[in-house]
């Protein structure tokens, strides 16, 4: 994105509030903010879909509900039912979490069918498939994207925001390359400012899931006054998933995968100040 177009960014943001402790007032604020700042949707838990729909009808702001969230470990039938209910409550977009364990077990037919059941029960609403990229290797991310497309999903999405880490340009780029231009790519998790947002958009995202949308838009208004300085690249490690892979939060195999990439990284020699 060469120019930081505020309206364009706003129309890419799913204004998000998914915490378990969020009460109705927070959802009301979320809806009001979405109207005020022109976000494309509010992304919320299913319990608030009906309420949010009431707040937003005729506003042009969509309601997006998460399904099987955040672990993706419900049965396919329950996910489909949950999606059906959300759509009937007013959700125009459904963000479902895949069964990450099944994906890692290479049970591809199961994963595809899991997605397909949600896609079918959500129609005509659009479905975004959250693959929780932090728990997958690059090859697994590519495969998960292919399965989502084959199952009829409209978007692939990086993260729930509840995993070990969120969206990185590396993963978004990989996903965009895999799904091509006709399927959406949503980056979510850890997007806290306009620099994060622009990086992810430049990597191929056309939708952003974030609770920091208001700040992102307001901050982005500063962009024009020193565009190159604001986007001055930090050392590559800052935005590399390998740097953020931690032993405590990742499966052994995934942790080892990322750290191996880190050890063989072309930038390691130049930017290894974290390791001195």
């Amino acid at each position: 994105m060469e120019n930081c177009d505020i309206n364009k960014i706003a129309k890419m943001i799913d204004h998000t509030e998914l915490k378990s402790n969020s009460g109705q007032k927070k959802i009301l604020n979320l809806c009001n903010e979405a109207k005020m700042f022109g976000f494309v949707s509010v992304c919320i838990n299913p319990a608030y879909v009906k309420f949010a729909y009431e707040q937003l009808k005729d506003s042009g702001v969509l309601v997006c509900s998460v399904i099987g969230f955040p672990l993706g470990m419900n049965t396919s039938k329950l996910k489909a039912l949950e999606a059906e209910q959300a759509v009937s409550d007013g959700a125009k977009e459904i963000d479902m979490v895949i069964n990450v364990g099944a994906m890692r077990d290479k049970k591809y037919d199961f994963v595809k069918d899991d997605i397909k059941q949600v896609v079918e029960s959500s129609s005509p609403s659009h479905v975004k498939v959250i693959m929780e990229t932090c728990y997958l290797t690059d090859d697994e991310i590519v495969k998960a994207c292919q399965l989502a497309v084959e199952a009829g999903a409209h978007f692939v999405k990086t993260s729930t925001g509840f995993g070990a880490f969120g969206a990185f340009p590396h993963h978004v780029k990989l996903m965009r390359e895999t799904v091509g231009p006709d399927i959406g790519v949503k980056a979510a998790g850890g997007i806290s400012n306009f620099k994060d947002a622009i990086r992810l958009i430049n990597a191929g995202a056309n939708r952003l899931g974030t609770s920091a949308g208001v700040m992102i838009l307001e901050g982005a208004k500063l962009f024009k006054f020193a565009p190159e300085a604001w986007l001055e690249p930090e050392i590559p490690c800052h935005i590399c998933p390998s740097r953020h892979a931690t032993m405590a939060k990742l499966p052994k195999a995934v942790y080892t995968y990322y750290k191996k990439k880190c050890l063989t990284c072309e930038h390691r020699e130049k930017y290894n100040r974290f390791y001195d």
Binding site: N32, V214, K221, F225, E228, A229, W230, E232, E234, H238
Partner: protein, 589 residues
């Protein structure tokens, strides 16, 4: 007229004569109010040869076009030449004084001359009255406030000096509404030099707003902007500025023992968390402020406001003191006697290092908490050792032959962020027009807090651009006058929106930034004409040559040379830091 009240009074205390200062609409549009208009007026009234403590020096109190209208708009700015730094200087304070002043029908007032005996100004809807203050001379700021309100009107707002200002301590502050402070640069000493003990304001007027309906519609948006920003919507609301102690310590930026280190091992014990647990008993807020960063605290002996982050550091880690009660009470005494806590603590720290190095004759040891309150009192009253400390660290260290041990820029002490771990903040300190101050371009925002984005704190590339930008934004916000904390949550275009709703004019963010740049450049021009040069845009050698010994900023020094030329170029200044003719012409200075 919308936004502005359209009236500024100039009062000569030598003669008692008052006159109305006419402000052209064009000047108002170019300089707004507060700091900007104050600097413009100051440079027209005074010259770079005007000594700060002489009667000819002007002391200007100004509000801005948003004062008494928008949330956080109770602030005012005091503009003069600093006796501490000899630079042009503005100092800002919160509370309700600014709002009350504006409600009297004035945008502000200018004080020149010197009264033959102590006086105070009583400002109401009926104008300015000079009253005798001989019976208040010697009172501390709290006593002054109470006594003056008894003599005037309940609900009035009082800005006064304490004994430090009366004694012309070079870093004396002006205190208002009990514990709000126009702290930096010694504006209290200028006030004292005029025999002006206090100003009391009480107004009943209203500020005319161009579009009240638009204002009503805008306020919910403002509320959301403040609430959604984690700094204004959470950290400051929960803990005030003291939330920063543990953050800075974790980054290895918490200056310890006169900046000899960047990690204070006892930080946890003097942190905002500990202050909240043990001393805070209620929150306090300035005029129409939803953030309410103020903290009313209590020790076993006293009650007062604060300490804030900078003061926790100045009387804590800077001195190796880990006694939170001693720090809190030293802060109370500074407020009562009217002293800038940052310069006060930093100067004591300088003296402690001078003693450590064997060149200072008075025993002052790191961690000596028991001496703190007495030291502060001695400084305010210029007694004994306090006479020397009352000069600030630069003059003190020069006197003892170790100027490099004063942690200052242009004579103003650097506050609680070691610049070696934040290259942009280092450039901000070095180039600040009023000296070593953190708030004129708060690079801690992008370099540590990620506001508005994270910038690599150890990198120098791109920092000149951001420092200049934040300096211009700050100059503008200081002139419309809103609380600087709103800068975390709002962009210049939102400030322009607010300004347009209130004034009915058509400001854009580009114009506001140009105004900021104009103000900053005019300040610079004055300083250059007063004798400041490129060599003053530097930092103490410790930051340029000595690596931080431990912590998350270990082995870092400031790389000022990598940033300064670029900064001058962006500013439109020549290689010596002098604004070029083209720049002055472009900015219509």
């Amino acid at each position: 007229m919308n936004g502005w009240m359209g009236k500024i009074i100039k009062i000569d205390l030598s003669t008692g004569k008052q006159e109305t200062v006419e402000i052209d609409d064009n000047i108002r549009r170019k300089y707004l109010g507060g700091r900007g208009l104050g600097v413009k007026l100051y440079t027209e009234i005074c010259s770079p040869q005007t000594e700060p403590l002489c009667p000819q020096n002007a002391l200007i109190f100004l509000t801005g076009p948003l004062t008494a209208v928008m949330p956080t708009s109770g602030r005012f700015h005091v503009i003069s030449r600093s006796p501490l730094t000899n630079t042009i200087c503005d100092s800002s304070s919160g509370g309700i004084f600014g709002a009350e002043l504006k409600k009297t029908g004035l945008d502000g007032f200018i004080v020149t001359g010197k009264a033959a005996k102590p006086v105070y100004l009583n400002i109401t809807d009926n104008g300015i009255e000079i009253r005798n203050a001989e019976h208040f001379w010697g009172l501390n700021t709290q006593q002054t406030k109470e006594a003056i309100i008894k003599e005037t009107k309940a609900g009035s707002s009082v800005a006064s000096i304490g004994p430090a200002g009366e004694n012309k301590v070079l870093f004396a502050a002006i205190m208002n509404d009990k514990d709000r402070t126009a702290g930096r640069g010694g504006m209290g000493a200028v006030m004292g030099s005029k025999n002006l003990k206090a100003v009391v304001v009480k107004g009943t007027g209203k500020v005319s707003v161009n579009d009240p309906d638009a204002l009503k519609a805008f306020l919910p948006k403002l509320d959301r902007l403040i609430d959604k920003n984690p700094i204004t919507g959470k950290s400051l609301q929960l803990m005030g500025t003291s939330v920063l102690v543990n953050v800075m310590n974790a980054h290895g930026l918490y200056p310890t023992r006169n900046f000899q280190g960047g990690v204070f091992n006892d930080a946890e014990g003097v942190s905002g968390e500990k202050l909240s647990e043990n001393f805070v008993h209620k929150k306090s807020a300035c005029y129409k402020c939803p953030i309410a960063c103020g903290r009313t605290t209590k020790t076993a002996n006293k009650e007062g406001e604060g300490p804030e982050y900078e003061t926790l550091w100045a009387f804590g880690a800077q001195l190796g003191v880990n006694d939170l009660t001693a720090i809190t009470e030293a802060n109370y005494v500074c407020n009562e006697l009217g002293l800038d806590t940052i310069t006060c603590g930093s100067t004591i720290g300088c003296a402690m290092e001078l003693y450590e190095k064997g060149v200072f004759p008075f025993e002052l040891k790191w961690g000596d908490a028991d001496k703190l309150v007495k030291l502060v009192e001695d400084i305010a009253y210029k007694r004994g050792i306090g006479t020397e400390l009352s000069l600030g660290s630069k003059r003190l260290a020069e006197k003892y032959g170790r100027p490099e041990l004063a942690m200052q820029v242009k004579g103003m002490e650097i506050p609680a962020y070691d610049p070696r771990g934040v290259q942009g903040q280092a450039l901000s300190y070095a180039t600040n027009n009023r000296g070593g101050c953190h708030i004129k371009a708060y690079m801690i925002g992008p370099e540590i807090l990620g506001s508005p984005v994270f910038l690599d704190r150890f990198a120098t590339k791109g920092k000149a651009e951001i420092v200049a930008l934040l300096q211009d934004i700050s100059a503008m916000v200081d002139s419309i006058i809103l609380c600087r904390f709103l800068q975390f949550a709002m962009s210049p275009s939102t400030f322009a929106e607010m300004l347009n709703i209130v004034t009915g004019l058509d400001f854009t963010d580009d114009e506001l930034l140009k105004i900021g740049k104009r103000i900053y450049t005019l300040e610079r021009k004055f300083n250059i004409e007063a004798g400041f040069t490129r060599k003053d845009d530097t930092l103490p050698p410790r930051f340029l040559n000595e690596f931080l010994p431990e912590g998350a900023s270990r082995n870092r020094i400031v790389k000022l040379d990598e940033m300064l030329d670029r900064y001058y170029k962006i500013r439109g200044w020549d290689k010596n830091g002098v604004p070029t003719d083209e720049t002055l012409k472009e900015l219509e200075i």
